[in-house]
C-alpha cells in the first residue's frame, strides 16, 4: 500500500483525451474565458455591435494554434521519457528503471547510476565494501565507501540465496536528508541496525566495484534525491507578469471608455435622440435612454476589446517557440565531442534569458571537468612545468614517456628539464617522486601485465600517483604491511609501518615506511600553511623559496600541496609507536589521543617541495565568466564541496581574483576586510538561511561581485536562489549538471542543465540544456538578448497597433450618437489582427537583430538594457499607447475633415459611411505597415515578403469582398459591394490616405532621430562606430587582469578513514568474482 514505483509521469495527453482536455485547459486561461464571454455577449442582438464571426474566427485560429503547440510540446515530453537506462533484473530478466519497486533486489554494475535508494546486500569487493561517487548528490569529488552488513555480504553473488532473501526493513519515512538514514533489518530472527553507511542513494555512481546487489528501499519520488529536488513550479517570465498587469490596466481603460461612451449614449438618447424618434424609433427591447446606455456599454466593450486582442498571447507563444528553435538549431552551441546540440525544454522563457542578473552555478562538472592533472612542481627550490596560461604551442613537445612501459598515456607534461633531472639521478627529485608513490591511499590492480589500474578515492591523489608513475616511480601494489614500488625499473618493497591519516583539521597525511635497507622514513604531504610550521629550522631558506613558488601556483589557480620527509631512528620510532598503540586502544577520546600522537612525530621535517595540480576547468570557462561579468551579471558558485576546493576554483576561473583586484587597487586594507567578510559569510551562510540574518546575508552577498557558497546541500542551493529572488527581485539563472542541482534549477527563474554526460537528471529538470558551460555566454548574450529585444519590440508595436486600430471607434462614437457603430467593415475587424497586421510583426519578433551576434558578444554591455528592463516597461507601454492614440486621432480626424460636406470627382458620394470605412481602413493598413517598416531593423526577405504581402493581401481581400459575385451569393454579409472600386478610384481618397500616413509617421521619425542625437543608446553608438569603421570601443572591452595574492592554494578532496581501511587490510582483494547475473527476491519492506 502506498508503494511508489520508479516512474515519473510527464506527459499530459493521449490521442483520445487530447481535444476535450486541451479545450478545457484553454478555457481555463483567463484570457480565453474572457473572449468566450465576449462571444456570448455578441449573440444578444441588442448588444451585438459586431457580427458573431468577428470574434469566433480569431478565437478558432488562436485555439487551433495553441492546441497544435500543446500537442507538439507534449510529444516532446513523451519522447524525452524514453531513453531511460534499463536494468537486468531477476534471473534472466531485464527491467526498465521505471519498473523498479521497493523490495526488489537489483544488481548494479561498475560505473552505473544507482537507480533507487538501496540497502547494500553484497558486493564484488571483500567485506561487502562498495565505492560510490556522490558528485551528483553533493558535488564532492572523492569516493565514499559503503559496507554491507556482514550477514548479507556473505550472500555474495549467489543468486539462489539472494532470491531467497526475505529480510524486512523498518525505516524512517521518505525524507530529504542525504547524510542520515536510520532503520532496522529483521532477518532470520535477528535485528540489525542500519545507517547511512549501508545505503546507496539514487544519483550516486558505483565506482571501483564490479558489481553489487541491493534491495530497493525507496523508489521514484520517495528517494532522497527526488525529495531534495523541490517542487516543480510553473515558470513565468517577468514580461508575462507585466503583460498580465497591463492587460488588467487595459481592461480598466476599456471599462472607462465604455462608461464614458455609455454615459454619452444616455445623454444623447435623452437630449438628441428623443427628438429624432420620428426617424429612429425605439424597438421593443430598448426603450429608455438609461437602458440604452447600459446596453451600449456592453456593445462598446465588444467593439473596443481589440485593445487586448486574442492574438496577443498566441503571437507571443509563437515567437517564443521560434526563438526556441533558433537555440536548438544553433551550431555554435553544438558540442561535437558529445554530439549534443543545445536544447530548449521550456519554450516560454526565452526573453528572460536577456534579463539575467544572477547566475548560480554548480562547480563540479559544470565549471570544472572533475579531472585533476599534475601540472607543476617545485622541488628543492626549483620549479618545473609550464604555465597553464601559456597555451601549449603546437611546437612544444610533451615529455616522451615511452621509456616507461607502465606510463599512463593520457598524462602530459611540458617541461623536459624534470625528466633530465630524474635521469641524472638528482636525489631530491627522486625523493620527491618516491614520496608521491608511497604517501597515499591508492589501491592498485594489475589486470593484465603492463596494464596498471589505480583505484583512487580522490582525484588529487590519483593525479599525484599517476605523475610519479610516469616519472618512473611506479606504485605497483600494496598489502596491509607493504608497498611495492618500481623505482626507475627496479622493484623495491617498503614495509608500511603506519599511515597517519588525513582529516580536515590536520590537513595533511603521512606514512612511515621502512626501506629494504632498514631506514625508517616519514613522508608527509599537506597544506603548506600547516606543513611549514612543522619544518626543521634549517629549512628556512628553502621554505621562503618554495613559498614564493606556491604563491605563483596560487596565482594561477592551481591546487597545491607541500611535501616533506623525515628520517627516523629505530628507537625513536619504537618509542612513538608505543604511544600510538596506546592511543589506538584508548576507549574514549581516541581521536584526540591519535591526533596528539601524530603531532608528536610530524615535526622537524625536511621540506622537499610542492606540487601543483590543475583542477581542469571546462573549456572556455574563464572567458565566459569574464564576459558575463562585463555584462553586469553576478555569478555565484554554489557547491557541496569544501571551502578550499571551492575557493581554489574561484581563483582559477578568475572570479575571485578579479573582485579582489578591484578592491586591492583602491585600498588594500578594505580589501582584506571584504575578504574577511566574505570568509565570515562562508561560515555564516548555513545560519543565515535559517534566521534573521537572511537580509544581512543577501545585502552583503549582493554587494560582492562574486559569492561562493560551499558545503551547501541541494535544498540549501534552492534556498539561496529563493533568497535572492525574494530580496532582490532580480532574474536568476541556475546552471548545473548533477542531481544535486535539480532543486536550484527548479527554483531559479531559468534552470540550465549540462547535458551529454551520463546523468540526465539535471537536464530533465531544466529549462535549457547544452553540453558546455561556455555556451552560456552565447545563450545569454546572443539568444537571450535578441529574444528580449525582439519580444519588447513586438509588444510595443502590438499595443501601438491595436490602440491605433481600436480607438478610432472611440472618436467616431462622438459623431454617431454613441451608438456603438463601428468605423470599419465587420470583415476588416475580423481579419485585421489575424491577417493584415499579424505576419509582419511576427517576422520582426522572430528575425529582428539590432546588432549582429559578433557585436552582441563583443560588447557585453549591450546586455544591460535587459537587466534594467528598459525596452519594455510601464513607461514604454504608455509611450506606445500615446503613439497609438495619436495615430488613431490622425486616422479619424483627417478623413473626417476631408469628407466633411464634400463630394467625389463626379459629384457623387464619397462621404458615405461605407467609403469612409474603406478610407480609414486602408489608411490604417498602410500606416501600420509603414510603422513596422520603420521599426524593423533587420530586413530579411521574409520581412519584405510579409510587409508587402500584407498590403497586397489586404487589397486582394478588399476587392474580393466588395465584388459583385460575393454579394450576389451572400447579400446580407457583404453589403460593401462596389465600394472599393468607387472609393479607391478617387484621387482625393488617396490624398487623404497619403496625408494620414505622413502625419502619423513623420513625428515618430523626428522623435527617433532626435533621441539618437541627444541621448544615444549603446546600440546607436555601436552602429555609429561600425559606420565609422573604428576600432572596438575600448571602455567596453575591458581585459581580465590576473594578480597574485598572498594566500594558500591548498585544496585536497580527500576523506578521512581510508588509512585505517588499508592498514586493516579490509579492502585488499582476496579473490575475483565473475558473476553477472541478477535476481529478484521475495524480500519486502515494512515501511511503506
Amino acid at each position: 500500500m502506498g508503494c511508489v514505483n520508479n516512474r515519473i509521469k510527464t506527459s499530459k495527453y493521449n490521442i483520445l483525451t487530447f481535444l476535450p482536455v486541451n479545450l478545457f485547459e484553454q478555457f481555463q486561461r483567463v484570457a480565453n474565458a474572457y473572449f468566450l464571454f465576449l462571444l456570448i455577449l455578441q449573440l444578444i442582438p441588442e448588444i451585438s455591435s459586431l457580427s458573431w464571426f468577428t470574434t469566433i474566427v480569431p478565437l478558432m485560429v488562436v485555439f487551433t494554434i495553441t492546441a497544435v503547440k500543446d500537442a507538439t510540446d507534449d510529444c516532446v515530453s513523451i519522447c524525452s521519457k524514453l531513453p531511460l537506462q534499463s536494468l537486468q533484473q531477476s534471473i534472466l530478466q531485464n527491467e526498465k528503471w521505471m519498473n523498479v519497486k521497493p523490495g526488489d533486489v537489483i544488481k548494479l554494475e561498475n560505473n552505473t547510476f544507482v537507480a533507487a535508494d538501496l540497502l547494500l546486500l553484497s558486493s564484488s569487493e571483500p567485506h561487502g565494501l562498495c565505492y560510490i561517487e556522490t558528485a551528483e548528490l553533493d558535488g564532492e569529488t572523492n569516493l565514499k565507501v559503503r559496507q554491507a552488513l556482514p550477514v548479507t555480504s556473505e550472500l555474495g553473488p549467489d543468486i539462489r540465496r539472494l532470491a531467497e532473501f526475505d529480510g524486512v526493513v523498518v525505516c524512517e519515512p521518505p525524507n530529504n536528508k542525504l547524510d542520515k538514514f536510520t532503520g532496522v533489518l529483521f532477518w532470520k530472527d535477528n535485528r540489525y541496525s542500519l545507517n547511512n553507511e549501508k545505503v546507496l542513494l539514487r544519483g550516486c555512481v558505483l565506482r571501483n566495484t564490479d558489481w553489487c546487489f541491493g534491495m530497493v528501499i525507496f523508489a521514484g519520488p520517495d528517494t532522497k534525491l527526488m525529495q531534495n529536488s523541490g517542487r516543480t513550479k510553473f515558470k513565468r517570465t517577468s514580461i508575462d507578469r507585466l503583460m498580465n498587469t497591463l492587460a488588467l490596466w487595459i481592461f480598466g481603460f476599456l471599462v472607462c471608455m465604455g462608461i464614458i461612451l455609455a454615459i454619452g449614449n444616455s445623454i444623447w438618447e435623452h437630449q438628441v435622440g428623443a427628438h429624432f424618434r420620428i426617424y429612429l424609433f425605439w424597438n421593443e427591447v430598448v426603450n429608455s435612454s438609461v437602458f440604452s446606455g447600459f446596453l451600449t456599454f456592453w456593445s462598446y466593450i465588444i467593439i473596443l476589446n481589440s485593445v487586448v486582442p486574442i492574438s496577443l498571447y498566441v503571437s507571443v507563444e509563437v515567437i517564443r517557440l521560434g526563438h526556441s528553435y533558433f537555440i536548438n538549431w544553433d551550431r555554435k552551441m553544438y558540442c561535437p565531442q558529445k554530439d549534443t546540440p543545445a536544447e530548449v525544454r521550456t519554450t516560454t522563457l526565452n526573453e528572460e534569458l536577456g534579463q539575467i542578473e544572477y547566475i548560480f552555478s554548480d562547480k563540479t562538472g559544470t565549471i570544472t571537468q572533475n579531472i585533476m592533472t599534475f601540472n607543476k612542481c617545485s622541488i628543492n627550490g626549483k620549479t618545473y612545468g609550464k604555465s597553464v596560461f601559456i597555451n601549449v604551442l603546437p611546437k612544444t613537445v610533451p615529455v616522451d614517456f615511452s621509456f616507461n612501459p607502465l606510463a599512463d598515456r593520457k598524462f602530459q607534461f611540458y617541461d623536459h628539464s624534470l625528466i633530465e633531472s630524474i635521469k641524472l639521478g638528482d636525489a631530491m627529485v627522486h625523493e620527491f617522486f618516491r614520496l608521491l608513490s608511497l604517501c597515499h591511499t591508492v589501491m592498485s590492480e594489475e589486470k593484465n601485465a603492463g596494464e596498471l589500474i589505480y583505484q583512487v578515492q580522490s582525484p588529487d591523489e590519483g593525479a599525484l600517483v599517476t605523475a610519479a608513475r610516469n616519472f618512473g616511480f611506479i606504485f605497483k601494489s600494496r598489502t596491509p604491511e607493504t608497498i611495492t614500488v618500481e623505482e626507475m625499473g627496479k622493484l623495491v618493497t617498503y614495509q608500511l609501518l603506519a599511515i597517519l591519516d588525513f582529516n580536515n583539521i590536520r590537513k595533511r597525511m603521512s606514512v612511515i615506511v621502512q626501506t629494504p635497507d632498514g631506514q625508517i622514513k616519514l613522508y608527509c604531504k599537506g597544506a603548506d600553511t600547516i606543513l611549514f610550521e612543522r619544518l626543521h629550522p634549517s629549512n628556512e631558506e628553502l621554505m621562503s623559496l618554495t613559498s614564493d613558488h606556491l604563491e605563483e601556483f596560487a596565482g594561477e589557480g592551481l591546487r597545491t600541496l607541500a611535501l616533506a620527509y623525515k628520517n627516523l631512528t629505530e628507537e625513536h620510532f619504537k618509542e612513538w609507536f608505543k604511544i600510538l598503540q596506546e592511543a589506538n586502544t584508548s576507549v574514549d577520546s581516541r581521536n584526540d589521543y591519535l591526533a596528539a600522537a601524530y603531532e608528536e612525530i610530524e615535526k622537524d621535517m625536511m621540506l622537499l617541495g610542492a606540487t601543483a595540480i590543475e583542477d581542469k576547468l571546462q573549456e572556455g570557462v574563464t572567458e565566459t565568466i569574464a564576459s558575463l561579468s562585463l555584462a553586469n551579471i553576478k555569478i555565484w558558485v554554489l557547491t557541496g564541496d569544501k571551502q578550499e576546493t571551492a575557493m581554489n576554483i574561484g581563483y582559477s576561473c578568475h572570479m575571485l581574483t578579479d573582485t579582489m583586484n578591484e578592491i586591492f587597487i583602491v585600498a588594500s586594507h578594505t580589501g582584506m576586510e571584504v575578504r574577511e567578510e566574505l570568509r565570515e559569510y562562508f561560515a555564516l551562510q548555513a545560519l543565515a538561511l535559517e534566521g534573521d540574518l537572511e537580509n544581512e546575508f543577501v545585502e552583503v552577498a549582493c554587494m560582492c561581485k562574486t559569492v561562493i557558497c560551499c558545503r551547501v546541500t541541494p535544498l540549501q542551493k534552492a534556498q539561496v536562489v529563493e533568497l535572492v529572488k525574494k530580496h532582490r527581485k532580480a532574474v536568476t539563472l541556475a546552471i548545473g549538471d548533477g542531481a544535486n542541482d535539480i532543486s536550484m534549477i527548479k527554483s531559479a527563474h531559468i534552470g540550465i542543465g549540462i547535458s551529454g554526460e551520463e546523468g540526465m537528471q539535471a537536464v530533465l529538470a531544466s529549462d535549457y540544456s547544452f553540453a558546455q558551460f561556455r555556451y552560456l555566454k552565447r545563450l545569454l548574450l546572443v539568444h537571450g538578448r535578441w529574444s528580449y529585444f525582439r519580444m519588447c519590440k513586438f509588444l510595443c508595436y502590438f499595443f501601438y497597433k491595436n490602440f491605433a486600430f481600436t480607438l478610432v471607434h472611440f472618436w467616431f462614437g462622438f459623431f454617431c450618437g454613441f451608438s456603438a457603430q463601428t468605423v470599419y467593415d465587420q470583415w476588416f475587424i475580423t481579419l485585421f489582427n489575424i491577417v493584415y497586421a499579424s505576419l509582419p510583426v511576427l517576422a520582426m519578433g522572430l528575425f529582428d537583430q539590432d546588432v549582429n551576434e559578433q557585436n552582441s558578444m563583443d560588447y557585453a554591455k549591450l546586455y544591460e538594457p535587459g537587466q534594467l528592463n528598459l525596452l519594455f516597461n510601464k513607461r514604454k507601454f504608455f509611450i506606445c499607447i500615446a503613439h497609438g492614440l495619436y495615430t488613431s486621432f490622425a486616422l479619424f480626424f483627417i478623413p473626417y475633415g476631408a469628407f466633411y460636406n464634400t463630394a467625389g470627382e463626379d459629384g457623387k458620394h464619397i462621404a458615405d459611411y461605407q467609403s469612409f470605412a474603406v478610407t480609414v481602413a486602408t489608411s490604417l493598413v498602410i500606416v501600420v505597415s509603414v510603422q513596422i517598416a520603420l521599426d524593423t531593423s533587420y530586413w530579411t526577405a521574409i520581412n519584405r515578403f510579409f510587409i508587402l504581402g500584407s498590403i497586397a493581401v489586404y487589397f486582394a481581400i478588399l476587392f474580393t469582398m466588395h465584388s459583385d459575385g460575393i454579394f450576389v451569393i451572400f447579400p446580407n454579409h457583404f453589403p460593401f459591394v462596389g465600394n472599393a472600386r468607387n472609393s479607391l478610384s478617387q484621387i482625393s481618397v488617396w490624398l487623404v490616405i497619403l496625408l494620414t500616413t505622413v502625419v502619423s509617421v513623420m513625428p515618430v521619425i523626428t522623435f527617433q532621430f532626435l533621441k539618437e542625437d541627444l541621448n544615444p543608446t549603446l546600440t546607436d553608438q555601436v552602429w555609429l562606430n561600425l559606420i565609422m569603421k573604428q576600432k572596438p570601443l575600448q571602455n567596453y572591452m575591458r581585459r581580465v587582469y590576473r594578480t597574485n595574492s598572498r594566500r594558500s592554494a591548498y585544496a585536497f578532496s580527500h576523506q578521512e578513514g581510508f588509512g585505517e581501511l588499508i592498514t586493516s587490510g579490509k579492502n585488499i582483494h582476496i579473490s575475483q568474482y565473475n558473476y553477472f547475473i541478477l535476481l529478484k527476491s521475495g524480500a519486502f519492506l515494512k515501511n511503506c
Partner: protein, 312 residues
Amino acid sequence: MAAASSCAELAGRNKPDNTAFTQQRLPAWQPLLSAGTALPLFFCAGLACLALGLGLHFSSATIQRFAGPVCLYYQLSNYYQNHRRYGVSRDDRQLSGDASGLSSPATECSPFRTDPQGLPIAPCGAIANSLFNDTFTLYHLANGTFHPVPLDNRGISWWTDSNIKFSNPELVNGSLEAAFKGTAKPLNWPQAAYMLDTGNPNNTGFINEDFIVWMRTAALPTFRKLYRRVREGNFSSGLPQGTYCLDITYNYPVLSFQGTKKVIFSTVSWMGGKNPFLGIVYLVFGSACILTGFVMLAVHIKFQKQNQMDVE
C-alpha cells in the same frame, strides 16, 4: 577505418543544419535612420506636401465659379444616418430583389418590418422609411419669364448600387406592382415603392436613384447628397449668370430635432467637391516638415560631434 568513419557519422548525427535560416544569418538590409536619410526625407516630404497643398487649395478655390456642369445637393445637418440602430435597419437581400426577402424581411428592420396589419414592408427598415422626400424645381429668369431648368436625375448613384446592389423583384406578368403584391409600403411613404417614378420603369421601385442615394447612408451627422445635375441644353457648361428661382416642396420635417436643410449648387474639380481642409492641412504639414528638418539639422550638427567624441 570503418569504425572511424561510423564514429564520425555518429558525431554529426545531431548536428544542426548549417543554413542561413537556422543560423540566423539570413541576408538582410539594415537600414539606419541616419542624418543622410532622415534629413532629405523631411525636406522632400515637406516640399511635396507644400506643392500638393497649393494645388488642392487653388482647385478648391476655383470651384466657386460655376464653370462646368453644376450639381444640385441637399444637405441635412444633425441627422444621424450613421447611428447603429438606424444603419442596420435595412435588408440588403430584399433590396437586391430576392423574393424571400420581400415576403419575410430581416429582423434588423424591426420595428419597420411589418405594418400594423402584419404585412411585410417593402422596402423595410428605418432608412427606407425616412426617405428624403422634398422636391426641388429650378427656374431661370430669361426674357422676363421663368423657364424650368432641366434637372437630370440619371447617374446620381453609383453604378454598382443601381445595377448590382439594388434591383427590383422579378416582374410578375410584366408588372412590378404584381411583384410587390402582398407587401406594404413604408409607413411614412405616401405611395408604394413601385410608384416612386411611375413614368420611368428603369427608375422606379428599388432602383429609383433618389432612393438608392438615400440608402447609401452618410458617415457623419452633417451630410450632403446629390439630388440632380444640371447638364443639359444651355446649362451644360455651367449656370449662366442671371436670376434663378428654386421651388421647394417642403415635405420633410427636420425642425423637431434641430436639424437644418440646405440646397447647394456646386461644381466639382479633379479632387472632388469643394473642401478647403485637405489643402490647408497639406500646407501646414508641409511647412512643419521643413521647419522640423531645419531643427533636426541644427541638433544633428551640434550633437553629432559630441557623440563621436564620446565614442572615441
